[in-house]
């Protein structure tokens, strides 16, 4: 840096340089501290996101409107082709509908026969994407629903096509969604129809890859990928995408939802049934107390009070 031909005042220049060096040091220190992902950092992110959400909401409205205009002109241009395609698809779907109805009846009969416990129904809240990820190294988006709508971290987020990601941070009126394509996204999945279990791992590219695949897994291009529900965070059976083969011969996943066209999203409020009742041993097998004489009453219908071990086990679940 030459100081000879600077138009700025020398005093100001020196102070400016000191302040610049100080700020660079501060930024570098933050970068090192941020590796630890402390609570303060997370909190700051949430607060800033929450403050910016209303502004982004305002700004994203005209964007949504413009998008609808573009889409409708697109639709006008291709209306005949689209109509033809929809007719064909409709014919195909009618056949599927027949098959589905038959299967539904069959499954209902089997479930009744086998006394299957049906999964609890899943509540949801619908919101809109108001903010893009902005940064080139992060695949997260901001939606306009938050803890005021009972949105919590870890909940699955879907759009009309399938799973797009999950909530990673919430404020009162805004939340951040980690997309499946993000570097930090890991989702337990099942590849149908072979029921091969694996983990879907994002790496900031368009197609997330599969990890922990069993060797010689019988899977091939075009297989459907759905969530497995392992771990109890995400509901099982949410559609994610299909397997595609990349140019270098690896299998990756093409998601059903188009990341660049996200607009309305739905947050699933799935609660895994974790409260499992502790079952006591039959009274005949209960340890006999020392002061009681004679055999324990075998015909007692009332459940005995839980023993100390049972309560401990209950606390442990």
């Amino acid at each position: 840096m030459d100081q000879t031909n600077r138009p700025a005042l020398p005093i100001r220049d020196v102070s400016g340089r000191v302040s610049l060096i100080f700020m660079v040091t501060l930024a570098a220190a933050l970068l090192l501290l941020g590796r630890a992902e402390t609570y303060v950092v997370d909190r700051a992110r949430q607060v800033v996101t929450d403050l910016a959400a209303p502004l982004l909401e305002l700004a994203s409205r005209p964007v949504s409107a413009a998008r609808r205009v573009v889409e409708s002109t697109d639709q006008y241009a291709y209306v005949f082709d689209e109509n033809e395609r929809l007719r064909e698809e409709n014919a195909r779907l009618l056949a599927w509908k027949e098959a589905a109805l038959k299967l539904e009846a069959k499954v209902a009969r089997f479930e009744a026969l086998l006394n299957v416990q049906v999964d609890p129904s899943i509540g949801y809240v619908t919101g809109r994407v108001v903010g893009d990820s902005g940064g080139p190294f992060v695949e997260t988006i901001i939606a306009n629903v938050g803890s005021n709508q009972d949105v919590e971290s870890g909940q699955a987020v879907i759009d009309s096509d399938g799973l797009i990601g999950r909530i990673v941070a919430t404020g009162p009126d805004a939340s951040r969604i980690l997309l499946l394509t993000d570097l930090n996204s890991r989702v337990p999945i099942v590849v149908e129809p072979s029921q091969t279990r694996a983990v879907l791992a994002g790496d900031n590219s368009v197609w997330p890859r599969l990890e922990f695949l069993p060797a010689l897994a019988p899977i091939s291009v075009g297989d459907r990928v759905v969530t497995s529900g392992d771990g109890g965070l995400l509901p099982p059976g949410l559609p994610i995408g299909t397997l595609v083969e990349t140019a270098d011969g690896f299998l990756r996943v093409q998601t059903f939802s188009d990341r660049s066209r996200l607009d309305m999203i739905r947050v699933l409020q799935y609660e895994f049934p974790r409260e499992i009742d502790v079952q006591d041993a039959p009274t005949a097998l209960q340890p006999v107390a020392s002061e009681s004489e004679g055999p324990a009453p075998s015909a007692s219908t009332s459940a005995p009070a839980p023993t100390a071990e049972a309560t401990a086990a209950e606390g442990g679940t």
Binding site: L30, L31, T49, V63
Partner: protein
């Protein structure tokens, strides 16, 4: 204060999902345009802590590594301020070329730091796309800032 606000608004613009209109994934780094423009024209009205603040808010909103873009913007700011004699009062195309060089430096630095941060070689494609879009949109923002600069000159 006005230039800083302009820069801050530019930073927020990066998060508006414009790309959804065309179905492409580009979020230009508008904040960098503001940093570069004021570093060349009037570094005295845009202090380093302003640059730091814009970078930091960008990091917080994008949920990326905290301090990454703050650091990159500050380094670019320092470089541009030291070389501003080359560009001041020259043709606009040279001004634009300077921004191209700055974007390349910023993109490379950002990519390098992020790769170190995450401990793996990241794909440089998203950064390249982002910086290309930013360079392409530079003249538009330069025109807007010019209006602001005129106003500043009138005020003194």
């Amino acid at each position: 204060m006005l230039p800083f606000l302009a820069g801050f608004l530019c930073m927020l613009l990066s998060f508006v999902p414009f790309s959804r209109i065309f179905g492409a994934e580009i979020a230009p780094a508008f904040g960098l345009i503001a940093v570069y423009y004021w570093a060349v024209q009037r570094p005295d009205v845009f202090p380093p802590y302003g640059v730091f603040a814009i970078g930091l808010f960008y990091d917080l909103l994008s949920a990326g590594p905290l301090g990454l873009w703050a650091l990159v913007y500050l380094i670019v700011f320092g470089l541009v301020v030291s070389q501003r004699q080359l560009m001041i009062g020259r043709t606009f195309s040279l001004f634009w070329l300077g921004f191209l060089v700055s974007s390349v430096i910023a993109g490379f630095l950002g990519w390098l730091l992020a790769s170190l941060y995450f401990g793996q070689i990241l794909s440089p494609a998203p950064v390249l796309v982002q910086m290309a879009a930013t360079v392409a949109l530079f003249p538009l923002f330069a025109k807007l800032f010019e209006q602001l600069l005129q106003r500043l000159l009138v005020q003194g």
